[in-house]
Symmetry: C2
Subunit: 317 residues, 2 copies
């Protein structure tokens, strides 16, 4: 049996990333209901908002779901207590060291996956006792690793150092990429962009429409002196790029970024002043309209099967 499906008790080894301003209970429960594992994105929720989303998610589906928690979250103790109180069974941690919380989560009956951007971090996460890994490449939207290792290079590198159940993330939006990720050594995938643009995502409609109009090259990794972040081309990003080209300081960049830009862009739909985060694979969806999670899941599975049949039909080398 597929190790990811076995670990989480799900049908398909497809996880929807816990994306800020996209991953509320509607998205997470729809993914879980369709046989994947939906994650709530705690990063953009107040603690009590998260509690509410957990409860709504459980009401909407009896299937397993999880919560993504960025470990630099300010009220992290409060969030973790809610995880325990509400009986959440799966937590994906990111943006921080998994040392501090993995044991505690295990004691509370929670399975833990951790997001890494290198084989070095993968080994540290394994030492911390996590149950699974997400290896996320340069293609991914939003916050990203400093080493800029792409999914194609990262998955074999992580697979070479650990046998833990492994999810590939970054650049995966279709069934053939899911299949390719598994050929590279992953046991499944975590998909962000594709789910961020579904009907059930809580992102603003204007954000979804803009993202579905993007061409190759319209997202770029910037803000490398703060935290490397993949941003969609818009007025705000042009300002960031200009500032970086003339050698702006960390302080100047921090001031330019300000607070709440991602909310403004993704949730409120301010396409000029907001920070628009999406992955590089978005250009493969160009010209589509937002579809339901169920349709995305069906397309992913069908695309995988189709690719599997095509590859089986090739003559051997």
């Amino acid at each position: 049996m597929n190790p990811i499906c076995e670990l989480f008790g799900i049908r398909y080894p497809i996880i929807s990333g816990g994306m800020v301003w996209c991953s509320g209970w509607r998205l997470a429960s729809a993914v879980s209901q369709a046989g994947g594992l939906g994650l709530l994105g705690a990063g953009s929720m107040h603690p009590e908002t998260l509690r509410e989303h957990i409860r709504c998610c459980r009401e909407a589906t009896s299937a397993p779901f999880g919560v993504n928690i960025p470990l630099m979250y300010p009220q992290i103790e409060e969030i973790m207590q809610i995880i325990a109180d509400e009986g959440v069974k799966v937590v994906f941690t990111s943006a921080g060291s998994p040392k501090k919380w993995t044991g505690w989560l295990h004691e509370h009956g929670v399975k833990v996956a951790h997001v890494v951007s290198s084989s070095k971090f993968a080994l540290k996460a394994e030492e911390a006792g996590v149950d699974a890994l997400v290896a996320e490449g340069f293609e991914a939207g939003g916050h990203n690793g400093r080493e800029e290792t792409t999914t194609l290079c990262l998955i074999p590198a992580v697979r070479a150092v650990t046998r833990l159940p492994l999810l590939a993330a970054g650049g995966i939006a279709t069934g053939d990429a899911l299949y390719a990720a598994m050929a590279l050594g992953a046991d499944g995938v975590q998909i962000g962009s594709r789910f961020a643009l579904t009907v059930e995502s809580s992102a603003h409609e204007a954000f979804k429409q803009r993202c579905l109009s993007l061409e190759e090259g319209d997202t770029k990794l910037l803000l490398k002196q703060l935290a490397p972040t993949r941003l969609v081309k818009n007025k705000f990003r042009d300002e960031v790029e200009q500032a970086e080209w003339v050698g702006a300081s960390v302080e100047q960049l921090r001031e330019l970024l300000g607070k709440g830009r991602a909310k403004r862009g993704i949730f409120e739909g301010d396409l000029d002043e907001g920070e628009l985060e999406i992955g590089q694979a978005v250009s493969l969806l160009r010209g589509q309209q937002p579809v339901t999670v169920a349709q995305v899941m069906e397309e992913l599975v069908e695309g995988y099967q189709r690719t599997s049949q095509r590859m089986a039909g090739l003559s051997q080398l």
Copy 2:
């Protein structure tokens, strides 16, 4: 039959890139002799040197081989005349528009493949009449596209707009990556780094040893204001990075780069002052010693078969 094998009359759809200071007749003929298609790298050869390498290559193997020509080569007319005079049957063009020379090459009985970094350039190359495409992603060593599209995102994007025989390049050093590239829609691969570090490559031994010691994150795309180039971490690159962080002008960067840096690094083995070019996948080879082309080809084919069997053995989703 595989469209790349059919087009070039070769056994395996594996091409060795025409890399500056690596791809002389020893490397190219060894790849062709082993069933792939070896390319001579004209970019780092004087015209008469290229003529000599073509003749040596033909003497070393009766199998098909080709020449890679960067279209911004200063004495391009002279080079093209040599291609015709010497009866070269395959040319891979890069770094420029394929409009001017594709027709001329066809008239001289030469098959033409062109290297692109986006689906837009792929369409233009198809309009220019090329016989095949190389889609090269962000992972690749040396000169690189401006849009930073990774191989994982680029191959499906190019495949979506053209049915031309398609080679994936960038990030491919092993048989599982070859298999994954074909799952994404490529018909074969062009491999650079792996062949640059073989016994037959004309790169300096010190360069090979340094490259085989690199870890994830040790190569980085820089010089984006001139021509984006993936460089290995060393003293020279640190200077480039410093200059870019403080907002150096194009002129300052050009002066810092100077002339002949790649030769100094790759061919002469000056690991401090030279420009060291290699792809991101090099870290997957860490700790190995240079092996022969025949061994690399065998490993690629075996790795492909192994992955093919593993994937066939997975239960359907």
